[in-house]
């Protein structure tokens, strides 16, 4: 049985490699020719792309070039993390909860999986369907407030509202503290508040500003921007972590 986890990481590596190819539409700068964004509509399948004119490799494992400012509590917890993605690793040398236990990835770590997601709007909520492990988020847009005493969940509880015609603002709270913020193992507490601003800059391009606030773990907010491209011809398939990823029998001779 060879290092399946190394292979899984190579997937990310190869994904990251594709932007080096000039013909790759995912890396082409946003074209002015793209039609304007429709109002209050993110419907469709979106796939990560690198920032225009950049091959920002660190987006594969963490959010920013410089590490976040952690509290002492988080520093201590971070030292316990044995990242899957810092170089050499095997199943025995990482304690990454996604790779070793198929724990749900949490938010915003879910965006490091090199697979697309889909927006589905309904009158009272918007669904985010992530191809990786059938991950679903339900973003309530019926005007309800952010819960003050939320249950603690893997993917949190989300409420959203439109800021203008083309920006969906999503506030998410109520996370358990079992997930990592990124693939390096930067921790968060159950006080994590994630704000996502999905800005549809034109019909084909989406920019996602993420702000992580956590008074217990982050000495100051951690922010980043991710870039996505509409994939009108793509459909989400099935990727189940449990079984697909944890059952090694398919990889043994």
């Amino acid at each position: 049985m060879l290092g399946i986890f190394a292979a899984l990481s190579l997937t990310g590596a190869l994904f990251a490699q594709t932007p080096a190819q000039p013909a790759n539409p995912a890396t082409a700068p946003a074209k002015a020719a793209s039609a304007p964004a429709p109002a209050h509509d993110l419907t469709g399948v979106w796939m990560m792309r690198n920032p225009p004119g950049s091959n920002r490799g660190f987006t594969n494992y963490t959010f920013t070039k410089d590490p976040p400012e952690l509290t002492p509590w988080a520093e201590a917890k971070f030292k316990e993390a044995k990242a899957s993605n810092g170089g050499q690793f095997t199943l025995k040398t990482t304690n990454d909860p996604v790779l070793t236990k198929c724990d749900p990835p949490g938010v915003p770590r879910v965006y490091f999986h090199p697979y697309p997601f889909e927006f589905v709007h309904t009158p009272k909520y918007t669904l985010m369907l992530y191809e990786y492990d059938h991950t679903v988020r339900r973003i309530y847009t019926d005007g309800r407030p952010i819960p003050k005493d939320p249950d603690l969940l893997w993917m949190g509880t989300s409420v959203g509202h439109w800021d203008g015609d083309t920006t969906l603002v999503v506030d998410t709270v109520g996370f358990n503290d079992k997930t990592w913020l990124d693939r390096l193992g930067h921790p968060h507490s159950d006080q994590l508040h994630v704000t996502e601003r999905f800005r549809r800059v034109d019909k084909d391009h989406l920019e996602l500003d993420i702000t992580m606030e956590d008074p217990k773990a982050l000495a100051k907010p951690w922010t980043t921007t991710f870039y996505y491209q509409l994939r009108p011809n793509w459909e989400l398939g099935e990727i189940s972590c449990s079984g697909d990823y944890l059952d090694f029998s398919n990889f043994e001779k």
Partner: protein, 127 residues
């Protein structure tokens, strides 16, 4: 006939292309990513499965012995978006695979380039 080629130049190019921004941040413990090996073989099994598509094929070495190889591609969903399906390859097909060989098993490969039975390179990325 053994057609295993140690393409050092290709390996260097590959490392240069993907260095720093990609492989430096990824666990590559299982594969020798400094060298690209090319083998020609005959498919014995093709599994279009998560998390990575699996190829099984036989390669004849210099001594005329048959080596049983196993190789991986990316996720089936990604290959489906590149035009693949579960019937793209089948037992008996001739292939030429190039890629990184596992450090722990000389007959296990991560494929970077694949020539199919019709002699054409198969698309390995969903773009």
């Amino acid at each position: 006939m053994k057609t295993k080629i140690l393409a050092l130049i290709l390996g260097i190019v590959a490392v240069l292309v993907v260095s720093g921004t990609t492989f430096a941040h990824h666990g590559t413990a299982a594969y020798d990513t400094k060298n690209i090996v090319t083998v020609k073989g005959t498919m014995t099994d093709f599994r279009f499965i998560n998390p990575h598509v699996q190829l099984f094929f036989d390669v004849k070495n210099d001594k005329g012995e048959v080596e049983n190889w196993q190789a991986e591609l990316t996720a089936p969903n990604k290959l489906a978006r590149a035009g693949w399906d579960k019937h793209t390859l089948k037992a008996g097909d001739s292939i030429t695979a190039s890629g990184y060989v596992s450090k722990g098993d000389a007959h296990t490969m991560w494929i970077n380039k694949l020539i199919g039975p019709d002699g054409e390179a198969l698309h390995l990325f969903e773009e």
